[in-house]
């Protein structure tokens, strides 16, 4: 781009000695060559190996043991969860009753009892497991020992690539249960905290907790889980083939959001009024964000509690949390974001930019076709 072709063409429209017919074969060859070169410059996914080299193996082992503990330990306890650190401006106290490898019953005091249906069907989409999300995104280091709720605990730190502290986790030395958790923002302030203030360990695998029937419904529990141990909700899981098909139909379904939020699960869920939406779940192991895509155009006038702001070619509507919400239209779809951390929303807006409410007609069709062509040359698409 050393000069403006438009300006040159406007001033000298009849000087070209090369007939268009003669130029075309060379142009086509160049186009094909460029298309072949495109994948070379496609950005690669983050490399797990680089992060692994910086991690402390025993500390990573502690995290893996902690993730497994929900399958091996039964307990009852009371846990608090607060957002915003020491201000305590948003928080909850949660009573947890958990059976090893089985269901968990959770009662959030003051807000209600969570009786979410259990489901054994989960399709894990991330390249590595739940703990690996954390290990890949952060540097894992041991940070000594410190008791929590009267129990000895090992402390593990997660640090960002720039060295700042992102999280501190207390893992029960005896059972591996995560006892306390603190998240820090980039300025070093506590942004989230949770801990058990009361805990009674009932036993190992197979131990039934008193008062919990065999068929008790399982629910998701803060800080707990592990694939298959925690609850999964309604809707049906989607696999990679489903996502490829959805992309060809015009949905974005990005593999990654921002710097390190990896797609780990996708489901088709109910979206009211007989409609459905695709839920895409992203995490870096410490925070999570869900992106919902559904067909249609956003009716911003009927949104309650949202404020609109013009971004690019569309309007992004946001609502304070917790959790934080945002929604906008793009190319015949409506994108809705539910995020534990409001700071993650701009990254989603960047990954799935708002657009006009189109989605039908010739231009929208050509846009989908262009996306389809780009998909042919994307080695990570399908």
């Amino acid at each position: 781009m050393t000069s403006s072709p438009r300006g040159a063409r406007a001033d000298r429209p009849d000087r070209s000695p090369v007939p268009p017919a003669a130029a075309l074969p060379a142009a086509v060859l160049l186009a094909v060559a460029l298309l072949l070169v495109v994948p070379v410059f496609t950005p690669a996914t983050p490399e797990a190996a680089a992060a692994d080299a910086d991690d402390d193996a025993p500390a990573v082992g502690l995290l893996q043991r902690s993730a497994r503990s929900w399958s091996t330990v039964s307990f009852t306890g009371t846990q608090y969860l607060t957002l915003g650190g020491d201000t305590g401006s948003a928080g909850a106290v949660v009573e947890v009753v958990h059976r090893a490898g089985g269901p968990t019953r959770v009662h959030v005091l003051g807000t209600g009892r969570h009786e979410l249906p259990a489901s054994a069907t989960r399709v894990w989409l991330a390249p590595a497991g739940p703990v690996d999300l954390l290990v890949d995104a952060y540097q894992i280091r041991p940070a000594g020992r410190e008791p929590v709720v009267g129990r000895p605990a090992d402390v593990v730190e997660a640090r960002r690539p720039d060295g700042t502290l992102a999280a501190r986790l207390w893992v029960d030395t005896a059972t591996g249960l995560p006892l306390r958790r603190e998240l820090f923002d980039t300025e070093g302030s506590v942004s989230q905290a949770s801990a058990f203030v009361d805990l009674t360990v009932q036993g190992k695998v197979g131990g039934l907790v008193a008062g919990m029937a065999e068929d008790s419904p399982a629910v998701a529990v803060p800080g707990g889980g592990g694939v298959g141990a925690a609850a999964s909700g309604g809707g049906s899981p989607l696999d990679r083939d489903d996502l490829v098909a959805l992309r060809h139909q015009g949905m974005a379904c990005p593999e990654e959001i921002g710097d390190g939020l990896v797609l780990y699960e996708a489901r088709r869920v109910r979206a009211g009024e007989g409609r459905s939406a695709v839920q895409l779940s992203y995490s870096d192991g410490l925070v999570a964000v869900s992106v919902f895509e559904q067909r249609g155009r956003l009716d911003g006038d009927r949104l309650e509690g949202f404020s609109g702001r013009r971004v690019g070619d569309g309007t992004v509507w946001t609502r304070s949390g917790p959790p934080a919400w945002a929604t906008w239209s793009t190319g015949g779809s409506v994108v809705t974001v539910v995020s534990d951390d409001p700071a993650l929303i701009p990254a989603v807006v960047e990954a799935v930019p708002p657009g006009e409410d189109g989605g039908h007609g010739v231009l929208a069709r050509l846009a989908r076709a262009a996306s389809r062509v780009a998909g042919w040359f994307n080695p990570y698409d399908g």
Partner: protein
């Protein structure tokens, strides 16, 4: 948890409690509106004091900020946030496309010459010295560009065959955000070190629905 924080409010706001003490205090705050308000007031007071003396905004900066405001409009209904806390307010959104670029373009147009690229001005010289490397290479580049555009158009046109045209205009949608929060909560169940903020969304005890 029935006892109020009392003289623990200040140490908590200052971050001077030990871990066990902080755990107990935060667990109490999660259920006690009075103490929560007291801690918030304490921290706000500290924040105000920390901010003194007030910064004087340069007039030029103020004008620039006001000018920025004219490029990002707000619209639609709004109501007070669920939790009145600055850090949980809607985040600053990135300017994609128009916003920042438009501002830059306006600034460029105000420069002498209207921000017109120098190479464009050169290309209008009658002797054609503005061309990159002579007459022939310019024509070649034009021909290649035309070919590229044509090849891309043909490829996209072929690819568009068989794609649905979208049919009727898309239906108006109001996302069920509370229901989506429940689904978000469920999705985090497989993450051992993630705790979802969706726990804080109130649940109707009678129905179990949010």
């Amino acid at each position: 948890m029935s006892h109020h924080l009392g003289d623990r409010v200040s140490p908590l706001a200052d971050g001077h409690l030990d871990h066990d003490g902080r755990d107990r205090a935060l667990a109490h705050l999660a259920r006690c509106d009075a103490c929560r308000r007291e801690v918030e007031a304490e921290r706000q007071t500290r924040a105000v004091l920390a901010d003194l003396p007030p910064a004087v905004l340069p007039e030029r900066l103020l004008e620039s900020l006001l000018a920025l405001g004219t490029t990002t409009g707000t619209a639609g209904p709004s109501r007070p946030p669920v939790v009145g806390r600055d850090s949980l307010a809607p985040p600053a959104l990135p300017r994609t496309g128009g916003g920042g670029d438009r501002t830059a373009a306006v600034a460029a147009d105000r420069r002498p010459g209207g921000g017109r690229p120098a190479d464009r001005a050169d290309s209008r010289r009658p002797d054609g010295f503005g061309a990159p490397s002579g007459r022939h290479s310019g024509r070649r580049i034009r021909a290649v560009a035309v070919g590229l555009v044509a090849a891309t158009a043909v490829t996209v046109g072929v690819a568009s065959m068989g794609l649905p045209d979208g049919g009727s205009p898309p239906v108006a949608v109001v996302p069920p955000v509370e229901q989506f929060a429940v689904e978000h909560l469920r999705s985090t169940g497989s993450l051992p070190f993630v705790e979802s903020a969706a726990w804080l969304v109130p649940v109707d005890d009678r129905t179990g629905q949010r």
